[in-house]
Symmetry: C2
Subunit: 315 residues, 2 copies
């Protein structure tokens, strides 16, 4: 099954123009290796994490702490040689990891300079649960910080719908990336991240499709959904400003790209990543380049992408 599903998933990334990604795989090493293979075969760049989870999950999805740690190390070492794929430490989220496991993952991350991705403050219920599970940590963000899983290495925190003021300040100071996944948050009835508030505070905000719960893999859909979500927040609170199209595009290209190095811009010194967009079905022939981009963002899909470049190579 996984030899069938992962190549199709990777092909969907390719078709939709997502040439670099950060992926939560599963707790299973073998299948995670299949994902890595599929990405390499398609020449797509990615950070892939074998997920860690040793509590609060269905029995068949729970690892022992030792197995979780040793398989993580094995995965990191096996992936070491990959041209396209890099490992990323991926505790599913605080509630599914014991403190002991998180300490060991923090150590692996820092000893080997490996980045981190996890979930943070996606729902209110989850925040209360984390409080109960980790009463000694000051807040949810500190649960990760207390285990060296927050900001020591490059860190992606997915969702962050309900961060406290203190945690927003912390995200800024620790140079953590908050990842806005609007479609997923809507589908799971989580809420909507205050994305412009985060931007205006100088926090690094990236954009994610989270196809675990989001139903659209193309990042153009994430862009338009994020704009719609910010408009909804603006209706409720007119003081909170709307996410501009240009900003949403910037978050998805240059800001997301920052996690990969000098990526996501056509400025000098940046790796040349590019999509060539040509909508096959313009209703009106003469569109400006900006209008063509807008049409791609709102109505585009795989058929609108006629070329894909990663680090200067057509793929």
């Amino acid at each position: 099954m996984l030899k069938k599903v992962y190549p199709r998933f990777v092909d969907a990334l390719y078709q939709n123009g997502t040439l670099r990604s950060c992926i939560f795989a599963t707790i299973h090493s073998e299948s995670t290796h299949e994902l890595v293979k599929a990405l390499e075969n398609k020449h797509l760049s990615a950070y892939v994490g074998k997920v860690n989870m040793n509590q609060n999950a269905p029995d068949k999805l729970i690892e022992t702490t030792d197995a979780s740690v040793s398989e993580t190390i094995d995965f990191i070492e096996a992936i070491g040689e990959s041209e396209y794929v890099k490992p990323i430490i991926t505790p599913r989220f605080a509630p599914s990891c014991t403190s002991d496991l998180m300490h060991q993952l923090g150590r692996i991350s820092n000893d080997r300079s490996i980045p981190i991705q996890t979930h943070l403050a996606e729902t209110k219920r989850e925040i209360n649960w984390v409080k109960e599970l980790f009463p000694d940590s000051k807040n949810y963000s500190y649960v990760y910080k207390d285990h060296q899983l927050y900001g020591e290495q490059k860190s992606l925190m997915a969702h962050t719908v309900y961060l406290s003021d203190e945690e927003l300040e912390m995200a800024k100071n620790e140079n953590v990336f908050l990842v806005h996944c609007p479609n997923s948050n809507l589908n799971l009835t989580s809420g909507v991240m205050p994305v412009t508030t985060c931007i205006d505070r100088g926090i690094q905000v990236g954009m994610g499709s989270d196809v675990g719960a989001g139903h659209k893999i193309g990042m153009n859909h994430t862009i338009t959904c994020a704009i719609q979500c910010s408009k909804m927040r603006h209706v409720l609170n007119p003081e909170e400003r709307i996410l501009k199209e240009s900003e949403a595009f910037y978050l998805t290209t240059k800001m997301n790209g920052r996690f990969f190095g000098k990526v996501g811009s056509f400025e000098e010194g940046y790796l040349f990543d590019a999509l060539i967009i040509k909508d096959p079905d313009y209703l009106i022939d003469e569109l400006t380049p900006l209008e063509q981009l807008q049409r791609f963002l709102y109505c585009g899909g795989p058929d609108s992408i006629i070329g894909r470049y990663l680090e200067g190579c057509r793929i």
Copy 2:
């Protein structure tokens, strides 16, 4: 231009499986006729309205009252013979029509038993504007009612994001259809219609793509967007329940179909309208029929529709 654009628009309806529609054309008779022709050529069923607008619009989009009325009558009479297309009275919305024009449109509608479509309570600013423009009417809904444009004939009221309690009761008692257009409401920063509240009060609620401001023509996208929007309202007000998938599907098929007669269901006595769905790219081979439908709703598009039936004929 319009001979080029309308056939492409109609083809997009066909490709996306919208075999019946209610369409606001423009104030221009000639182009509206082109739309009718395009629909007939493609064998799609529709109510088409020549839009009426004699005030509060850019100069080149304003008609005289006489021209607006006489062109409306001409359009209705010209369309009389069409097999697929029927006329619908279409005042753009109250602010763009004088009371005199609306009175005459109401008379045309009732003399000839022609249904009505217009906009209602889409934004708060518009509601205040209508209050200023029509101080003698009890509320926005009554502006139409006072001109025989509300409930005497089949009536579609698009958007209805901000109806008062009294107007909701009125919509129920007058058998008016409220048309939920969630993508459009998000894109225009209008707000979100309380769709489950309307359903639970026994009001007829239909679903619209409103491609004037909505960016997705496929009704499957309207369904998923409506569900997402209701989830958002639920987050803010947990007492307001979420729109179920089955309900959203029902609104889009049997409820929308009701406007066309015995349409939108496979029950005995109904016209046989159908789409045959077969996703070309299931990641998993064995999906139940419900799962296949869900996949179409969330991820489907023209490629997932391999057959289209209107009134028993494959088109």
